[in-house]
Structure formats: C-alpha cells, structure tokens
C-alpha cells in the first residue's frame, strides 16, 4: 500500500526503552545532554550552510532516529558531531540543495571553534578553523563511514514528513488569517515546531506531523491571545485530547530543559566526540 505522504515512521515502545549508548554504559542524562547539543549543532550548521529549514529539520529527525533503540547507534562508537554532519550530508544529498563534503566539513570545523553556539563571536579567527588537506581527507572518510552507518541503522528509512506546511494549511482551514495578528500566531507556531525538533522527548519520533502542527497552533493561539473555535477543533486535525495535552506539555518543557542544560554545562564543553565522551565518563567516575 502507498504510505501516507503525511505520515512518518514512528519509534516503537521497545526502541524508546533503551538506546545503543545506554547499552554501552553512557548514563541517560549525559546522553540527553549530548543529543540536545548535537541537535543544536545540526541546526547551526544547517543555517551556516544556508539550507532551508525543511532540509535542516529532516536532518535533525534523521539524527534523532539514529540513536534510539538497542540496535541504534552508540555515542561510544560515533561522536555526536560526526553523526550530525553525516545526517546533514545525507539529507542534503537527497534534497534539491546538495552540499559537498568539503562545505560540510568546513562548516563543522568553524562551529567547533566557537565557545557556544549563541551568541556568535564578533571577531572570528580564520586560522583557528582552517582545515588542512590531510585533515580534510580523514574527516571525509569518517563522514562517509558515519553516513553508511546511519543508512544501515535506519534501514534506509530517511523519509521525513514535516508539519510546517500542514500547520499553515490548518491555520487557513481555521480561517485565522483574517485576524490582524495572524502573522504573529503563525510565527509562534512555526517557532514551536522548530523547538520540538530539539526536544529531549523526541516528539518528532513519537508523534505524527498532523498532531505536532495542531499542538503548535494551540500553544501559539494561547500565547498570542487569539481566540480559537469554541469546540474541540483539534479533532478535525486527527489529534485527540490526550495527545494534544502530552504535546503541549512536551513543547513547553523544552525551554526549562535548555535552561537546565546551560546551567549544568556552564564553563565546560559538552563531549561531542568519542574521545571527549570517554574523558567525560572517566571524570564522572572519579567524581563519584
């Protein structure tokens, strides 16, 4: 049967219970931190490469899919930075905006020199992120290795349906655009959809795009104070009350999670490579 073009493959309960990293002894909170940082890195690299958000979002979902489940990839084997780069590379390859390995490697080399992703420094130092030919060759090899592993781990299920256009369609169906502040609402809804990509609850892996779009509209309407129909309008968009509630809580919790992460890693860098992870875990063991 033809799969619905609006639906995504979702993670199973078994896949959500464990992960390749946890089986290799990486603590779950550390895994969450690294995955969150890796997702932000992917978003930043995508913007640096001037990719449309739809391509970046697809890469982010591929990145998230890779880590989950006992058969999933492990941080003890692949660094988050490496997988982030390979996710972006594979996704752009299939899109209308392919990027060369060199562009990808240069973008990640530059981002690696920044102390934090936001705000960017005023004075970049070009020699700090210069990639020599030798380094380029090695990094390209690891990029291709990670790509191969992503493809095999996902069984080549790279397809990602996104909620952005659905969200706009729903707003039109709700006749929101006649409202003077409709643009504000739409912006907030899209912002929530972008936020959901980074969620430690992996919302894009557990919910269909139609529900994500509905929850984003619900929150955006609440925030902008624009009145929605006085009925259970979300059911029109195939989302039940329970799912909507779960998504709303999930979307709102990302902000506090991000704050906690920032406080937790204040002055330290999150381990984005296998070596850094090993050092971090040794340090953690010594502390205990």
């Amino acid at each position: 049967m033809q799969p619905s073009p609006l639906a995504n493959p979702l993670a199973t309960v078994v896949q959500l219970e464990t992960s390749g990293s946890q089986l290799d002894g990486v603590p779950q909170d550390l895994e969450n931190s690294i995955r969150f940082a890796g997702a932000q890195l992917t978003q930043a690299a995508g913007m640096l490469l001037r990719l449309p958000q739809e391509v970046i979002a697809q890469a982010l979902v591929v990145f998230m899919r890779f880590w989950i489940g006992g058969d999933g990839g492990s941080l003890a084997e692949f660094g988050a930075e490496q997988v982030s780069a390979a996710s972006l590379y594979t996704t752009t390859k299939l899109s209308a905006w392919p990027k060369s390995p060199r562009s990808i490697i240069n973008a990640y080399a530059y981002l690696a020199t920044l102390p934090s992703l936001s705000p960017p420094p005023e004075q970049p130092k070009p020699d700090s992120y210069y990639v020599s030919e030798g380094t380029y060759q090695t990094r390209r090899t690891t990029l291709f290795q990670a790509e191969q592993r992503i493809l095999q781990t996902l069984g080549f299920h790279l397809h990602v349906s996104l909620p952005y256009t659905l969200c706009i369609t729903y707003l039109q169906a709700l006749d929101i655009f006649s409202h003077p502040r409709a643009a504000e609402l739409a912006k907030r809804a899209v912002a929530y959809l972008n936020t959901a990509l980074l969620s430690p609850q992996l919302l894009y892996l557990t919910h269909q795009p139609s529900s994500l779009a509905t929850a984003a509209i619900y929150l955006a309407a609440k925030e902008t104070g624009i009145k929605m129909p006085d009925v259970e309008w979300w059911e029109v968009f195939d989302t039940d009350r329970e799912e909507l509630g779960f998504l709303v809580v999930g979307l709102l919790s990302v902000e506090s999670f991000a704050e906690e992460e920032r406080a937790k890693w204040e002055g330290r860098s999150i381990p984005m490579t296998v070596e850094e992870l090993e050092a971090e875990m040794k340090r953690g063991d010594g502390g205990n």
Binding site: N8, Q15, Y89, L154, G155, D230, E232, E235, R241
Partner: protein, 451 residues
C-alpha cells in the same frame, strides 16, 4: 543413535507444543480480562455522562496545558490514524541464497535469489560502490531506495527491504522477482505483440507513469530493458537509478539522463529545465518499439540520434516549437528555415498497421515540442484504448519461457549515461547533421528521403 535423535526431536516438539498451548490460554485469558475492563470503563463513562449536566467546555483557559489533560474524556469520535511504519537496521545478506545471475545494470548487479526462511523467490540488486570515495554512498542508489519506498503502485516493482553485508559497504536491495523484461522478451519472440497486447502493456505502463508524475517523481530512464513483465501479463517499471523528485524551479537538472535511444530532443539539445515530458517521449519510443519489435530510434551518438529523430518526426519549425532556437545546442544546427510545410515526418508511413487513433497517440507522444506531448493522464483517456481491438485482459496474456530464470543476456542496448560525463555533452556539435543536405535545400526546398 538414530533413535536417540528421533526421541529428542519428538520431546522437543512436544515441549514446544505444550508451551504454545499454555501461551495461547494465557493470551485468551488476557483478552477476556481486557474486554471486561473495557466494558466496565464504557459503562462508567456512560453513567458519568448521564449524571453530569451537559455543560460547555471552557476551551480558552489561561492556565495553559493543565486544563487540556485534566478535563474528562468526551464520547469517542473516530479519528484518522496514520500508519507510517517504523524502522530497524538492515538484515544481513545471508538470509538469502543466490539462485542465478540475471544482469549487470547501470549501477548494480541483479540476481535471482531465495529467502531461506520463507522460500520466496526475489530479485537481489547489489549496489556498486565504485564511487572512489568522492560522494560517499552513491546518490543514484540512495534516490532509487527512497523513491521505491514511497512509490507503491501495482505497476511499479516493489522494494521489500535493504540488506547489508559483512563488509559495511555492501548494500543489497530486495525486490520482487518478475520473469521477463520487455527487451529480452521481444528479442526472443518471433512476431511482435498483438495490437490488443500492446494496448494492455501501454496502459499499465502509462498508469504507472501517471502515478509517478502525480507524486512529483521523474523516472528519467524509461526503456524496454527497465520494464518487467510477469508470466501473468503484469507489467512493472523497475530501475529507478536515474529517478528523482521534481525539484523546485530554481534548481538545475542534469541533461545527462535517459538512455540515448529514448532521450527526448530537448535533452539532446541541452535544455536545463525539463519535466515529465521527457518520460512521455520515452513512452512514445517504447510504444513504437512494441509495435515494431525493435527500438525505433537507434542512434549511434547524440548527433545521429537527433538526425534520426528529425527524419522520423519531421523538422522543428518556428510555429511548432517556438522555443527551439533558444536551446543551448540548437545554435550549431543549420535547419532550412523555409521547410515549414514539408516537415510532417514519416510516422504514419512507418507504422502502416496502426489505426488512426493509434497513430495520433504515437505522433503526439513523439512531438518535438515538449509542450505538445500529452500528460500520462491524457494518454489514459485517449480514444486508442477504447477502440477495437480492446486491451487484452491480463489473464489472457500468453506466457513465455523465462530467460531471467536461467540464461544470461546476449545483446546490449546502450546504458544510461554515467554521472560525470557531462563535460563532453556541453558542446556537442550538431552542425554536421544537415551538412550533406544543403544542396537539396538549394534545389526544390528541403526534402526528406523516405527510405
């Protein structure tokens, strides 16, 4: 000793049976429990509904998310559920055993194989990984896999799964096995297909194309060797190695697509923007090939191919194809401008046994101007399919001995162009096509030699 083994087997089987029985009982019990629980819950809900006054729910609450979760569940309304499936790692190739080799295609080796656990026969396509570490995983294979995963249609070969080997770079596609491909089949047939059979084949092919185009997919390598036929007359398009999604308008496309004999004139002339029309041209070539039992435009190279096209379909004129002169490679062409009236082409004479409706369809598919070619949906509505003889029902289709079963191919048609060949294509000099015809033009206007 033998009896010892037999005993063991029997014991095991018995133990297994008992275990199964137990599990079955457990399952039934659980089911019953669940049903009871559900019934109780439903009753409770009903009571609740009755006891409560029907009040309107407050929807725009300021407390945020809380109200949504805490409010009572309303009476069930059925909502659409989408099943997008899931994902898991690739299985290992050792789950299959190879039966025989079928062919080597543009990017992989195809063989017939059997799944060991189920015994079902499939076609395995091994992806060639000779990419010299330039671009990582081959884009052609990646596109084929992602497109086949999404394109589920009765006339498109279905991709069951993707396997990986012990070597990380070994990737194998598992697809359904069909007995024939149209090219090999036609080579072995003493006579061409009957008119009714051609209609059945063309109709199936066109409905697959209609599906692809309405899903924004270009096949870009339609030819008889990529079209499979089962022993039950069921046709399926295969080999999506050149296929891609129609990109947004600002993205450039490569002109290096479609095997030469099926390549549309605008591609030969180096257009950078093209669409579904190039597949329709290939469809026209296949239509003609089914009628004649051999490819109709067997050019030796790009220049030869284009001159054969002009010989068959006539010359482009300012009226029939206004954009013609703006194509990159058209500049080198010296076409007699005043040939207007005499550029009708010889399609009608080359297919004497075709009905008027059939000839009309073929000529429209082989229109030089891409804008004049019908869409797949329009082809399906064409009078040709409604007039006598009607398309032959698939069950009535003749069966043929399968070559893919046991034998290797003999003849080969040119392959789809390889990536990276583009530089040579940029400046093809077409000026020679009409060089020897200058004199004819000087005489009584341009004439086509009808051989």
């Amino acid at each position: 000793m033998a009896s010892r083994w037999a005993d063991d087997e029997a014991d095991k089987a018995e133990a297994l049976r008992q275990k199964k029985e137990k599990e079955e009982k457990k399952r039934l019990k659980l089911q019953k429990q669940q049903a009871e629980q559900e019934a109780a819950a439903a009753a409770a809900r009903e009571r609740e509904l009755e006891s409560r006054p029907a009040k309107r729910r407050r929807l725009s609450n300021d407390t945020g998310s809380q109200d949504v979760v805490s409010q009572e569940t309303p009476a069930e309304r059925p909502l659409l559920r989408f099943d997008g499936g899931g994902w898991g790692p690739c299985r290992h190739v050792s789950n299959f055993e190879t039966l025989n080799h079928i062919e080597e295609g543009s990017y992989g080796w195809v063989s017939r194989a059997r799944e060991i656990s189920t015994g079902s026969v499939v076609a395995l396509k091994k992806v060639k990984m000779d990419y010299q570490q330039q671009d990582g995983f081959p884009i052609t294979a990646l596109r084929e896999i992602t497109i086949l995963q999404r394109a589920r249609h009765k006339n498109i070969v279905s991709l069951h799964e993707v396997l990986s080997g012990s070597d990380p770079s070994e990737v194998v596609l598992v697809m359904e096995f069909l007995e024939h491909d149209l090219k090999t089949l036609q080579e072995d047939m003493p006579e061409p297909f009957l008119a009714s059979e051609v209609k059945t084949l063309l109709k199936q092919l066109t409905s697959a194309l209609s599906f692809l185009h309405s899903n924004h997919i270009l096949h870009r390598d339609l030819k008889t060797s990529n079209i499979l036929l089962s022993n039950h007359g069921h046709l399926k398009i295969a080999d999506f190695g050149m296929a891609r999604y129609i990109p947004p308008p600002d993205a450039r496309l490569t002109q290096l697509v479609v095997t030469l004999w099926y390549r549309a004139p605008e591609l030969l002339l180096g257009t950078e923007t093209y669409g579904t029309e190039i597949d329709m041209w290939s469809l026209g070539c296949i239509f003609g090939e089914l009628l004649l039992k051999e490819p109709i435009l067997q050019g030796k190279n790009e220049v030869d191919e284009l001159s054969r096209i002009f010989a068959l379909c006539g010359l482009p004129t300012d009226r029939s194809w206004p954009k013609f002169w703006r194509l990159p490679n058209a500049k080198g062409l010296k076409i007699p401008r005043d040939s207007g009236a005499k550029s009708g082409g010889v399609i009608r004479t080359k297919f004497p046994f075709l009905t008027n409706a059939g000839a009309d369809l073929l000529m429209s598919l082989l229109s030089l101007n891409p804008e004049h070619r019908p869409s797949a949906d329009e082809v399906l509505e064409h009078a040709y399919f409604r007039e006598q003889p009607k398309p032959k029902p698939m069950e009535m289709f003749p069966t043929f001995p399968s070559k893919a079963g046991q034998e290797k191919r003999r003849k080969r048609s040119p392959n789809a162009p390889k990536r990276g060949e583009a530089p040579g294509m940029q400046n093809v000099d077409f000026s020679g096509i009409f060089a020897n015809r200058e004199e004819e033009q000087a005489g009584a206007g341009f004439q086509l030699r009808v051989a």
